[in-house]
Amino acid sequence: MRRAIEKVVEGLLTVSGATTSAIILLIVVFLFKEGAGFFRHSNVENGYSLCVSGKNPVYRLSSDEIKKIFDYEIVSWDEVGGESIEIVPFRMGNIMERYSEEELGEDYINLPAKIIEVTKEIPGIILFLPLQYIPDDVSVKKIEDSRIDVSDFFAGTDWIPTATPSPQFGLLPLLLGTLWVGLFAIIIALPLGLGVAIYMAELATPRIRNVLKPMIELLAGIPSVVYGFFGLVVLVPFIQRTLNLPVGETAFAGSIVLAIMSLPTIITVAEDAMRNTPQTVREASLGLGASHWQTIYRVIIPYSLSGISAAVVLGIGRAVGETMAVLMVTGNAAVIPQTLFEPVRTIPATIAAELGEAPAGGAHYNALFVLGCILFIITVVVSISAELISKKRVDS
């Protein structure tokens, strides 16, 4: 009977282990599959196309070129491999201005004809049109659809997913924003966290420790919106006033809030690691005449290094992946950060803020999944390197 129960329990444990692994694997596969879909999208908004005059030799444009053309930054066709003619960008709105409603007819029935007309009139024209109105005529040429370019994504410096005609998916501002905020959060949190951990593990009297420890653990349980709220109401105005900045929502505010949030994790994990140093190792060090401090930094810290790096990894993981609080205090401007004291936008904040407005299956939607993949890769890289570091230190 007991045998049978043990067998059943064993089976249940195996099954739950397998299911958990399978679910995690599934999530990762889903993430990467949706992410890969991004690079199959055209670089022009879905259902639209760009047309030029049939005589224009240009047949293909990159997202960046499209954007610059419609922003009037590229003004002549010879800049994109055509003849030396002025570029005249035309959206639907421009056509509406040029022709009256009667001229266009009911349901824009005459629109294709008018398009042919205007294209003949303005040889340097480029039109951004819904697919159904594109006339079937030699005088109007469709610009070939090109896929979103991988290098445009990874090296792109603009993140404007709602831009027309060509949405801009440049990773750099978000990636750098994330690393920027995360890096400074860790720079603030690590020395503080390890300091508190050393204090609690080695110096505090049991009484103080018994008060401090539950308090710190309580901090870890506070939802991140609350931290974000605190940051927004207290920290942001404070930063703005004391540093005399135009806005208080900055990378700096994000770093501080993140640092506060990752402190409990870093402290608890590092402290546990240090307290797990065997008493006899401690005594061996003291027995050789080492002082308490020498014992702490020569023996206890090396001994608990793997635990300390776990603390660091968890801290960084939280810093990089944290969403809500950062969303609330960093100002969310998708620009490449130059200093700590300007608004930035992080990858998780972008996902949270934009997923709701990105139509499922669209380029924007898939782009957010690519961001998710990148976040995943960052965390994996961080934990693997921490693992390697801690191994190396014990070996040498």
Binding site: G287, G289, Q294, Y303
Partner: protein, 248 residues
């Protein structure tokens, strides 16, 4: 060499050592035997003030090394501990290389002369009968050694600070018979330069290696005499019962 006068020791309310008087001669091996929980480790740890680390403990009486009261206010504990090497029951190397483990005591003492440290490490490893086994892998982690080698490393580590006293708390109880006999041989050769006090549960071991033996029971030092006398002709009945295995 080592001496206590009317030593009492308390863990909180618990009276762990009772009125202990003992005189341990220099350059000898003294074994402490007795049933589990009788206070052997507690007594041993008085001599390098290791019990200071345990909160809520209290000591009365005097504890002397070479006539000096080591619990006197003027005594620097870390200097005292450099003069008394300690070897623990379980091997407890530091998470460092073999070389750095042995060099540890010198480094924390602020010594940085490389050739001096290298010489001392080699000497200590030789004295601990470990040199030949590790001389080619001094830069390897100490955790790569076997348990017996680790324990000899811990002995080498204690020898490197050139103590005059070596305290050993069941140094061989976690080891296999071959490692144990290596350690016993080692204790035998170290005797001429050091005063060694060893706690052991192994009667034969006490009889083999020690010159003097102290028998503890319930916090009291029941009998302390030449090892031969204790094992062949003890004067107390409790001792007789314990060594013949009728008790404990």
């Amino acid at each position: 060499m080592l001496e206590t006068r009317k030593v009492n020791f308390y863990y909180g309310d618990f009276h762990a050592l009772k009125e202990i008087n003992i005189k341990i001669p220099a350059n000898s091996v003294t074994a402490f035997i007795g049933p589990s929980g009788c206070g052997k480790s507690t007594f041993l740890r008085l001599f390098n003030r290791m019990n200071d680390l345990i909160p809520d403990t209290r000591l009365t009486g005097e504890c002397l090394i070479r006539g000096e009261n080591i619990y006197h206010k003027s005594v620097d504990v870390s200097v005292l501990r450099k003069k008394t090497g300690m070897v623990f029951q379980k091997p407890n190397p530091f998470p460092k290389t073999i070389f750095e483990n042995v060099a540890y005591g010198l480094r924390v003492d602020g010594i940085s002369n490389r050739s001096f440290i290298a010489d001392r490490v080699e000497q200590s490893l030789k004295s601990a009968a470990l040199w030949d086994e590790v001389k080619d892998k001094l830069k390897k982690s100490a955790f790569e050694l076997s348990g017996g080698q680790q324990q000899r490393l811990c002995i080498a580590r204690a020898l490197a600070i050139s103590p005059s006293v070596i305290l050993m708390d069941e140094p061989a109880s976690a080891l296999d018979p071959i490692s144990t006999s290596k350690i016993e041989d080692l204790i035998h050769t170290l005797k001429k330069d050091y005063t060694i006090v060893i706690v052991t549960h192994n009667m034969q071991q006490a009889a083999r290696i020690s010159d003097k033996t102290g028998f503890f029971m319930l916090g009291e030092l029941i009998e302390y005499d030449d090892t031969k006398k204790i094992f062949l002709n003890p004067s107390k009945e409790e001792t007789q019962n314990y060594i013949t295995g009728r008790f404990g």
